[in-house]
Amino acid sequence: MADEDRDPQGPGAEVSEAQIAVHWREEEYIQPPASFIEQANAADPAIRERFTEDKFPDCFKEYADMLTWDQPWHTTLDTSNAPFFRWFVGGRLNASYNCVDRHAAANPDKTAIIFVPELESEEPVHLSYGELYRQVNEFAALLREFAGLKTGDRVTLHLPMVAELPVTMLACARLGVIHSEVFGGFSGAACGARISDSGSRILITMDGYYRAGHLIDHKVKADEALAVAAKEGQEVDKVLIWRRRPGQYASQAPMADGRDFFIDELLAEHRGKTVDPVSMPAEAPLFLMYTSGTTGRPKGCQHSTGGYLAYVAGTSKYYQDIHPDDVYWCMADIGWITGHSYIVYGPLALGTTTVVYEGVPNYPDGGRPWRVAEKLGVGIFHTSPTSIRMLRKVGPDEPAKYNYHFKHMTTVGEPIEPEVWRWYYTEVGKSSAAIVDTWWQTENGGFLGSTLPALEPMKPGSCGPGVLGIYPVIYDENGDEVPAGSGKAGNICIRNPWPGIFQTIWGDPERFLSTYFQKYNTDPDSKDWRDWPYFTNDGAVQAADGYFRILGRVDDVINVAGHRLGTKEIESAALTVPEVAEAAAVPVMDEIRGRVVEIYVSLKPGFAAGKEIEAKVTAAIETEIGKIARPKSVWIVADMPKTRSGKIMRRVIAAVSNFADTGDVTTLANPEVVDSIRHQVQAAKAASGDVPRELTEAESEELRKFGGD
């Protein structure tokens, strides 16, 4: 396929259905089996009526009523500080109580968690709700009495997929302590950055775990994490270490005296203790989940207690079709939002049995997941297209060898190709399971787009319509709605707030506002939720039947000789040069090619500017994207002009490169940088005779709008 056919779907990109069909033709509907419909939680079509826009926001009472509240809320949705929306205001509850206590009281012997070790020689461990209650209480007592944690503190977890991870999360929630789990496979440095950003003074980790047949030394990462955090000014007082096998230390890393402690030893002091769950306001933060941003600094998405828990309980019930007597297996990692919402909080809030699998799905072979499903009687299976492709590749015929039955299956994370979808449906699901394809993001807490499995037919490659109470819309760059069935792509937004949406970016509310809400807001003072569409940063097209196809990340575009180059693509290529800390690509007017690219980079500490780095950046862009994207200039600058929230002001940089008016820069966090860059760049350009002609009004307007600032 020629380059010009591969439009990056940038803002304003008009991608026709025909163009999309080059990759993906419209698929047929597949109806769910009657046996599924008969038992589904959401089998009555009237459910859709209960969530129509005229019932918003009170429709979400149905989700909140799935929880046990200490005190009822008086205001369902408070928009007085839009878009910092508050849900179920006045209500009080505890997430740990809702996921543990109430089920332990009713069914203490019912299995809550099945931990499946990677080694098949080790038997699965069944943790009943009664046992979970005991473990959560004892660990909560330890956290309060030994670690000194109290309501509102943040604590960083760097734990692999073991049962101790949900125990730790629920113990934190019991105390109103905000947990921040870092994916166990991430480096110590990544963990350290998150410790620092969240201001955690306690790290909870593990000595080791199994992955792909190897016992991984995990504790060694804690030392690196603490060093990175300390460098950023955050000291950690204590490191609490779960041991994969209590009494045996699986790491080579030395224990730091007075800092590092084995949890199994400490727990001896807390046996039998109970801790009353702290009654938390509905809008109190429950956890932080970090997601990579565009600045190289991860964003700590802050999720609430009441709204989040209600939303994941409701979507787990209606979209995952979880019943209390199900055995449910989501093969994601709890280190990501999918695991938080659909391994821990959603399933446990509904009192079901959730599976926690330690290792990789294709170890020791591609039949492992199906053996687990057979052995445990898994009825609901949830995984990503990447895992499905992997399992299909290593063992296309494996599912048929095992006697399991899935009534329901989920895919999440990215669009799935129809032929892969069909393998999932016919081979894994044995043509008898309902499949839901889901679309959502870390920031969203739970699903945004999907089909109600008993009521809306499956369509391979499409996630479906907006879920209950979610009213998506596709806008073009001018804020005009792109109608369903028009065949045009645009920016998919959600017109309304919902209970599961994150509350803010931890410590950076301006970035929350500018990244997700400013784009389509026309009145910054408005208290009306209708004026604050949520900008997802994904492109999509909506078919006439209302189903959405998600196309990918939207991106600013620089049009070079007819080639539409995504700025993020160019910047991402530059960021792969190890010395580069930040990058910003901007357009420069060019008489021959219309626009050319200039790229600004700042370097990591310890590196000095020089021709060698400039050449590396150019080479990276040429290699990764092509010669068409070769930057006209690489400017290595000491710093980038930024908003107080850390967003690079590409508009200002573009103005400098084009000798245009930079506009008002007084509100920047570092306005002095603008003069410094202007002097550096314009002096060099003037010296080489590279001064552009005066811009037309249209060109000036284009630069003013560049970067969405």
Binding site: Q9, A189, S292, T386, W440
Partner: protein, 120 residues
Amino acid sequence: MEPAAAAGRPREAGTGARVCGVAMTMTQQYLAGELSVLLERVQAVATTEAASRDAKALREAAETVPVQALGWVTVRALALTERFCWDSLSRGDTAAFTRQAAAEAALREFGICASLLRDD
């Protein structure tokens, strides 16, 4: 294997690997995590300090760059492991070569299954 719907520009790289498209934002953070784990393995099979540093830098990139840049990180990682393999072969170090080739294979397999690379 066909690329995902939003296929972007496939790019020739030194290893013959091609970047496939623009990754979705969605809930794809896990791809960064899996890539980080595989790069830890690449770092472990490096036989010199400089090679280890290069692998570490790529791992840091995987953990910090936007999701849509992961394809390029994967391509660079493949080029790096291929370099490791050639170095080991030139020294006649078959044990190191075997470990490095396995790491590269795992990386390539993941890249293709995650639609970060094209399978052609």
